[in-house]
Symmetry: C2
């Protein structure tokens, strides 16, 4: 039976998972693939550290580049994350025609185009299922399952930490800060949570999915990003009363040949399937021109789901080695059918606006007039009672242009009867 | 650019979809795969019939076996369904080492093992994504995405017609017969709906998924089947009051090394994601030992979703032709890690029982005693008021053995105070 030697770079949470599961499920993997996967070398910073793995200590090395260059290493699995250290190692492997499996979404979001070109030029593979919603195989689904489809839109719940926080806020009425602190205590959220809660992780993943869908490796900077840090309980509550649930979504849509890409909190109908995706789960809703609507749901991060994706990628690569079919499915096939990005001011959406207004006659009429002058029609208004002189008013609009909303909001903010900053959230009618 | 010639057998609903979409999306497919797909020949019964396709009439032939044997046909796509005509054509193609794409679930459920062996022996491919829940790529997900996972369980909503009927009954309070008649009028249900509503279509698909999960091509007959024909509105209503939704599920579970496979209506918690899968949509819930829970959702039948899967398979096969990598992923890899089927009497489940009891003292006590004697404990009882002397009583049990329930029910039926046949439905706590 053909043996395939794996060189792991990094043996943290996911690396340890890969070692554990490749060993534990080796009989099944051999039976299914007629190949034997062997963890041959593991590069780590601290060679002495006990990682609780039943693997020979001599397999560990501190020298990642020797691992990459070793002739008996068939596949390089990069699991250190970040860019500075990972990038040269991945480049070195690809230049040797050595296939790479990685879970590194930032590396791909920022340098994907360069790495894919290298893989192609050297007839090598780079697989990265674990970089986006690992457990659900969305990358394979887009690249292979939907290969014949033009993609009309993608909605993704791509960050488990944010979805966990939003679920707790909505279901238990807990405040953002309190849930975040608890999530950090439980290890669900990073000590420095900015990458997650400010939406950047979602944006990186959105960038990868949009690029795959539209055949252009988009710049991360072309994605509009808003996080959930400033979300208030009252807006989650108001949304719920109006029949909506707030989710942090990666949104990718085709608009007359141009691609809109954004990552921000959105009100989605509470009856929609994606609104029911709770806690740390990920989901990706896709509409393809042939397949219609589809949704994939599962865990996107954490040791085991990520390991599941990495192991699947390792086997895909190993099959290419066995069949001498490297690059059978290109890591990324640029086709630039749609390379133009729709600027954010030009998107259309429905909007949720929460204003704090002075309790005076014709205040609401003034607001309505400003919106009307900007071609924004109002779908519903709820004016809440209040003990103070500040009345919270919730407006839900029909579809309007982002630019029109922005200019209307500027005018509204200038009114002396408007207190503080208006809260603006977008609505998607999934 | 490499051109791949496709020979279609059958040009009904799906065949016409394949022609239409391969033509319409040809630029995209070429850009993504660096290959040109050409519909080179189509075998049909009636060559003269106008199918509304923009394709040269000379492409049609009445002679399917000449199509299969033609040296310039690279891929045979079998879309006639049924077994008698399809099987010899598929066999002939595979014997020539010619790859086959098929959507034919009955052919595979009954003769899969033989066809897969032929494909392997002749270094050919047989792809069949469209045979089960086409739009969602569940076969690719099981075979490739979850290749490293032991599968603990699968729940599948696999028949769109049944799910449509159940949704209408639950949401609109319409009776089974009425919804079926309307579905037939709208073309959602066949004139002879038995294959769908009696659960056989679900069983065939369950057979395919179980076989892929457990590496043994199971006999269709080893699957327990019950349809939805006798489902009454009052049970859907009672289930709903107790917090459950009734779905027709294919259920596949691993029980201490033995596989249980069944297709029947089930009460699932209304809060579960699978309970929200409405109308003609399909969904497959999977639990793998590495990945944990995941669910794939989308359309499983109909022209376009099936076409999406057939086109993906054609491209997978075409890539194998291009890379000379036939059988890279085996059509089916027998590994027989789990070849033993758990007989139905040995399964455990929770149960919903509806009895019609005479309004006399200690009747319920007698029922409870019979259940208690059979080791079945009752989780809840609802006795409804009634104008007649027949009291409807709904019992929900804790987990019990199917054999114990059956013997208890026999005793209950023998009681003179019990009218008609008790209604028994199983419950899954997803």
């Amino acid at each position: 039976m053909r043996k395939v030697n794996i060189g792991l770079i990094g043996c943290g949470n996911v690396g340890a998972g890969v070692v554990k599961w490749v060993q534990k499920n080796s009989d099944l993997i051999e039976a299914r693939c007629n190949m034997q996967l062997e963890i041959a070398k593991i590069a780590v910073k601290n060679v002495q550290k006990d990682r609780g793995l039943s693997i020979d200590q001599s397999i560990f090395t501190a020298d990642a580049s020797t691992l990459v260059n070793a002739p008996d290493i068939d596949i390089v699995v990069e699991l250190i994350g970040g860019i500075d250290e990972a990038k040269p190692l991945v480049i070195s492997a690809l230049k040797q025609g050595k296939p790479v499996v990685t879970a590194n979404k930032s590396l791909l979001a920022f340098h994907g185009a360069e790495l894919f070109k290298l893989a192609e030029d050297n007839n090598s593979d780079i697989y990265y299922e674990a970089s986006v919603a690992g457990g659900i195989s969305i990358i394979k689904y887009l690249k292979e399952g939907l290969v014949g489809n033009h993609i009309n839109l993608i909605y993704g719940i791509l960050n488990g930490t944010c979805n966990y926080i939003l679920t707790r806020m909505a279901q238990n009425g807990e405040k953002f800060d309190d849930v975040l602190k608890e999530a950090q205590k439980l290890g669900f959220a990073e000590a420095d949570p900015g990458l997650d809660i400010d939406g950047h992780d979602t944006a990186h993943k959105t960038c990868i999915l949009a690029s795959l869908a539209y055949g252009e490796w988009f710049e991360v900077d072309s994605i509009y990003v808003e996080g959930i840090r400033n979300l208030e309980l009252q807006d989650i509550h108001n949304a719920s009363e109006a029949g909506y649930t707030i989710k942090l979504l990666g949104i990718i849509k085709l608009n007359s040949g141009r691609v809109q890409m954004r990552a921000h909190p959105v009100l989605v109908p509470s009856t929609s399937l994606i609104a029911k995706v709770d806690n740390e789960f990920n989901a990706v809703w896709v509409n393809g021109d042939i397949v219609g609507d589809a949704m994939l749901y599962g865990r996107g991060a954490g040791q085991d789901p990520t390991t599941s994706a990495v192991v699947a990628d390792i086997i895909d690569v190993a099959l290419n080695i066995k069949c001498n079919s490297a690059n059978r499915v290109a890591a990324f096939q640029p086709h630039k059918s749609y390379s133009k990005v729709l600027p954010m001011p030009e998107i259309s959406s429905r909007y949720y606006l929460r204003l704090s207004l002075e309790d005076k006659p014709s205040v609401l009429a003034n607001i309505a007039r400003i919106l009307g002058d900007a071609n924004i029609s109002i779908a519903s208004v709820v004016q809440k009672e209040s003990d103070s002189n500040k009345l919270p008013v919730i407006l839900i609009t029909h579809t309007a242009k982002e630019a029109d909303i922005n200019s209307a909001i500027e005018k509204i903010e200038d009114l002396s009867v408007v207190h503080g900053n208006p809260i603006i959230l977008r609505i998607e009618d999934i």
